[in-house]
Assembly symmetry: C2
Homo-oligomer: 331 residues x 2
């Protein structure tokens, strides 16, 4: 089942079921009004939505309408928790190598994970609003899962069973503010201003064979100002699978339904598949020539992210964002 | 106006107005069902609740009932965002001095602040559930504010105008896991498992003269297993006021209504007023004698926190929690 949340002027939007091919939608009203309602009561509500999805996919839904990603909010516009792992160790290793540091061996067993802001996930086509390009504006293309309730101390296998939905996310990062916040040790606050989500949240079964061992085996394409800069494989180089990341987040506390757990920037070893964040490209440049040449993003730049399956079908729809200044009335 | 959220079997509970003296309550149903609804639409809903509060305080409310803090959830059981500053620099200085480190001068201008978990604020009398006392279980008595929508880049004065409510919070901390997470630089994940809230969230005007310059001038009493260990002044040693803390959180992103911003552990210079977390007592012991003598909390220990005004009246009601092991079915 594929789900989206459509703009209706409210903070949580309106839940809709979307056809597998992403062309038509049907409001879930009458079953659940919001994604949060669905996640709060998954076992009761999701079978009813699965029925609606089957009817919609069969072309028999009575009130279907054309699906328009630009009308989408994030599938879960206000989550309760957003934690983001660094499961693609190649990304971590590359960024460290560029500053002359090694990958500490404990990182093979102990995921890096930060707690971010879940109060304001942006829709797939919403502007990414930043005051200053001097802060080193960067995108990070990732996958994420949305969980059900996860008891404290759950193991990785059981945690994987708690995965309800998968999403595509763009974890915006202000690189110029990262070093100072790493030095403070209290985590990312200013440097991780927000996350945007692809239009569709999908149940793992929608991925078919591509969902294996807690990893999604998809191709993630990243375009910067229309030019393809990355075409990365999301499966093979994901060192920690999603069950391990969820279990890590639940090690000392229970997680409540609607927790979003990110994979960290998708990254493949070798560099032939390009890059899913500018920082990685710059790290490669520094390693190769001693100097970073690719600039971070400026106001007006656009980012497009999309994940496709082996048949080339878009799984989550595309994130298409423009970097924009803070609007005047907001200052 | 004083507000509480009562347990009704749902995840968000049921909003109630509570009399100034904390003895009677009245459900807000018909005006707003949940605290989140109120915060989402504050300007429209809060005047109606103020009317109800006036009627309740006048003893004229038609469906008033005795207020029972044990029936309370956190006032906002699921917030969208929890960020916690370290506004009481004495706490930071003390903990650092115990490990031979100085307070870096930039901390006078740049608040330490971490992003924590907002998905599961515990009620005032809920057990604090931790797997192992070996993790160094500690409480932290703090105040916090709940904000409305705060635009990106808002200054401290305007941010202060965005404060809707004040709360008393207990920021549980696993001290044994802090050092490793500080070293990773990605912030607190395992070491900050959750927060409990006092039963009442109150509008700033309820504090009268005690709300001045963005600081609440109250007396915060901390009891450990029934014994008073702290009787701290919350006003004078709060280096950053709440407007500054909210503005810091909004420096690179807007904050959405329902953001909770903490003060950090309340702490007074000199030590005569006792302590609001065990870590601080242990730091004083290390500074005095080279060795920490006071143990962290064990399963079965109880913590009681309460803030009173100059007349000795309880402002937020009390937090009374027991440290408990993870229940068997949850493992």
């Amino acid at each position: 089942m594929k789900l989206a949340t459509l703009k209706d002027g409210s903070r949580d939007g309106q839940l809709a079921v979307v056809s597998r091919d992403g062309t038509t939608a049907h409001f879930a009203a009458g079953i659940a009004r919001t994604m949060r309602q669905l996640l709060d009561d998954w076992n009761f509500i999701s079978p009813q939505l699965e029925d609606l999805a089957a009817t919609l996919n069969g072309g028999k839904a009575r009130h279907a309408f054309p699906f328009e990603p630009r009308q989408c909010m994030a599938p879960l516009p206000r989550a309760s928790r957003w934690v983001d792992g660094s499961a693609y160790l190649n990304h971590v290793a590359l960024v460290r190598r560029a500053r002359g540091a090694e990958l500490p061996p404990e990182m093979l067993n102990d995921p890096l994970m930060y707690a971010g802001a879940a109060d304001d996930f942006a829709g797939p086509c919403d502007d990414a609003v930043f005051a200053s390009a001097g802060d080193g504006i960067d995108f990070e293309a990732e996958l994420a899962v949305v969980t059900g309730d996860i008891p404290q101390g759950t193991g990785a296998a059981a945690a994987l069973d708690g995965v309800r939905l998968l999403m595509l996310v763009n974890d915006w990062t202000l690189r110029g503010r990262v070093a100072a916040e790493l030095a403070k040790g209290f985590g990312f606050l200013h440097s991780k201003p927000g996350v945007a989500c692809g239009p569709l949240a999908v149940t793992p079964d929608e991925l078919g064979e591509a969902w294996q061992g807690g990893r999604a085996h998809l191709t993630l394409q990243a375009r910067l100002n229309g030019r393809e800069v990355g075409r990365c494989a999301t499966g093979p180089d994901m060192h920690f699978h999603f069950g391990q990341l969820v279990a890590h987040a639940a090690a000392t506390r229970r997680l409540r339904a609607g927790t979003v757990v990110g994979s960290g920037t998708v990254s493949n070893a070798g560099g032939a598949q390009g890059w899913c964040c500018v920082a990685e490209k710059r790290a490669m440049e520094i390693i190769d020539s001693g100097e970073a040449a690719t600039p971070y993003l400026q106001h007006g730049d656009t980012v497009r992210l999309e994940a496709t399956d082996a048949q080339g079908h878009s799984v989550f729809g595309a994130i298409e964002q423009r970097v924009a200044p803070v609007p005047a009335p907001e200052r």
